[in-house]
């Protein structure tokens, strides 16, 4: 831009001094107005459907309110109530386990597949990618209903175990106090793996081939090549994948609600399940809003921390 303008500006015809001073002001005003004209519609919609409800929720979270009757002020009572509730603490622990399944495992698998694919091309690669990415675009209700069937007594998972001689491993997967949470976690892995893989594979494609050549000339093996070239080149994608999957784990709801409703006992309860129950079963809109605010703040912190370490500034 700058170069073009310099080249195009005729040096022999300087503009009159008066116009020189007036134009930038008029132009900047015009630019300013144009900018706002472009931004305003989107901003108005954003404020109306995101900012206003967010501030409203934060406000409601300070009240004891059933959603219709007059509310009473409780200050931070709803927050303290949630943080002192043993079920809530247990639910946060479950979120920790889900993080492993929704985030860590898919990212490790995604990196692995990116490393393998960056070393050579595979016939039918597109088809594999499509199949692995498919769960990402399926509606969550479809995923939940499908996996409920798969895990069910006499369902394909148990039948398959029987068929390969592992009949003693057959389980009521979703009815087991110890296995229900990991079983649902694996569904999360299955869903998010495709996204991670796609991000990393496309990221790896953008890594200049010369870097690999240089590494090979220096005698790097596959592992060394991965850590020296592929992984550093994938930091931005890693940031995106971490943000999306961690937030996915934090707000895990539909899969669990549609399969176990937080059971057996309380073994698959998550903060989002408690939020739903507070809002729609117990009609504590204030308490539900407090959980929502806490989840939003947690998500925001996660996003900021990840951006700090993987964003442009970090490199």
């Amino acid at each position: 831009m700058t170069l073009e303008r310099l080249k195009g500006a005729p040096a022999s015809r300087p503009l009159p001094a008066v116009r020189e001073r007036r134009r930038p002001l008029a132009r900047s005003l015009r630019d300013w107005a144009a900018a706002w004209a472009f931004i305003l519609p989107a901003l108005a919609i954003y404020v109306l459907i995101v900012v206003v409800p967010t501030v409203q929720s934060a406000w409601y979270s300070l009240w004891n309110w059933d959603g219709v009757s007059a509310a009473s002020w409780v200050g931070l009572g709803n927050y303290l109530g949630f943080l002192q509730d043993p079920t809530a603490i247990e639910a946060l622990g479950h979120t920790g386990i889900l993080l492993l399944f929704f985030s860590v495992i898919p990212i490790v698998l995604g990196l692995l597949s990116a490393a393998l694919l960056s070393r050579g091309r595979l016939r039918g690669e597109g088809i594999f990618r499509w199949v692995i990415f498919l769960p990402q675009v399926l509606p969550s209700v479809v995923i939940a209903v499908t996996w409920k069937q798969l895990y069910g007594p006499g369902g394909p998972v148990n039948t398959a175990l029987q068929d390969v001689g592992l009949g003693w491993l057959q389980q009521d997967w979703l009815g087991s106090f110890t296995l229900a949470l990991p079983a649902l976690g694996l569904v999360g892995t299955w869903t998010t793996f495709g996204l991670c893989m796609l991000l990393f594979v496309s990221g790896a494609m953008a890594i200049p081939e010369e870097l690999y050549d240089a590494a090979r000339v220096d005698g790097a093996g596959a592992v060394r090549e991965f850590f020296a070239v592929t992984l550093p080149g994938l930091v931005p994608q890693l940031g995106v994948a971490l943000t999306l999957t961690i937030i996915g784990a934090l707000r895990a709801f539909d899969l669990i609600w549609l399969t176990t409703r937080g059971g057996p006992g309380t073994s698959t309860q998550t903060p989002a399940i408690i939020l739903y129950s507070q809002a729609f079963v117990q009609q504590n809109v204030g308490a539900a809003a407090a959980i929502g605010v806490l989840m939003a703040v947690a998500s925001l912190i996660v996003a900021l921390v990840i951006a700090r370490f993987t964003g442009e500034g970090a490199r």
Binding site: V47, V51, V52, T54, V55, Q56, W59, Y60, W63, W65, D66, G67, V68, S69, A70, A71, W73, K148, Y151, G152, P153, G154, Q171, D172, W173, L174, G175, S176, F177, T259, T260, R261, G262, G263, P264, G265, T266, S277, F280, V281, Q282, Q283, V285
Partner: protein, 451 residues
Amino acid sequence: MKRFPVLIGIGALSLLLAGCAPGGTAPQAAASHPVVTDPAKIAKTTISVLDMWPGKTTPDSRFWLDVEAGFQSKYPNIKIKRVTGSFDDVNKTIRLKLSDPGAAPDVAFVNNGWQGLGTMAKAHLILDLAPYAKAYGWDHSLPATVQREQNVSKDGKQIGVGDLYGIPVNQAGIIEVNYNKAKLAKLGVGVPKTLGEFEADLAKAKAAGELPIEMGDLDQLGALVALYALQDVQVPAGDLNDFIYGTGSKTMQQLGMPQAASTLQQWSRKGYLEPHVAGLGSGDAMQKFVDGTGVFAFYYSDALPFKNPAQESKFGAFLLPSSTGPAQSGTDATQASFSIASVSKHADAAALFLNYAMGPEAGADAIKEGIMPFLGSYKLPSSTPSYLADEVAISNQLQKSNGFVPYLDWASPTLLTTLGGNAQKLLANKMTPSAFSQAAQADYESFKSKK
């Protein structure tokens, strides 16, 4: 730094939009005016009626369409606009719908218990029906225990006492025991007359290689249905009613819950229950039952997924008997209770409709569609399917003894979740019957103390 004023501005604006304290703007109950019950004096109008039986083909929705059509032909000057949604959807949105004078239905399904009738009455979103109850004589025609199911106190702090805020439609939701006729005959036994006989039948079924009880509890429903039935036969209906409405002095421990929980756990240990009870949803389990697995199954009335009348004729139903004989009480409420919106401009027409929906014509519609009426006695034609005849007999039995027990989970908004999760622990031997009962009591007391 420069962005902060903008953010603060947006925040302040949002708070303005949110209003100051949330709530409190709910419409007050309409000023009392003379109640009109004479259909000829009710002006020509259209009322909107919100139900929770979406579609036109299920027995429930056909029943409701029959009722609405019957009403309109009997009272041609009142038209009905049907609005419908699933049980979950209606429950989630009803508070907002009733608060909006422009969009509120005149008549709406409002579920019994704290979350429904309790909350709506407290917020004055639904009409106190006392004047209509008097005018139509509902205060005499409805059994006392049924009226309590629709009562909320003026200050909204108690349910089961106070004024009438809902009217039951004539379709019942009873917890009953279903049985497979052929399997019972093969065991060489009849319908059990006492709890002891029932347990003996379970043992016989097990010995004969049959599954005694089909049950699914993945969705935290199957075990509760059996627990409620087992509790009902241990204590008088009045005591349970008092507990549920928070007016009694007896605790869960004194109201047969430890015994009920213990019996269920024993059945589980003896292998009387579906081996995959933990992994099967209650709906899936009932599908297995009608397909021929299991001798008995506890479930709600009219909820078994029969494919056709031929399949239905292979099953029967009875009310779980007590240790001494036929049950005097059972969990039984209307399938749906309907209320009138406070903002309705057609309350008289709406009340006329409710009067019709709880009456004998609606009961006959239920029977016509093969489902169980809630109130009234009916002369069944000889062509009546045997399963329906069984259900009507159960209904008559409970009306005769005035033994209606509301669903136990009405006692507190969290009780269903507490009981549902703990029942799974009970079946998995991770909780003792006594701890189960105490946890229910603790939930109940915590709610009472917060009121």
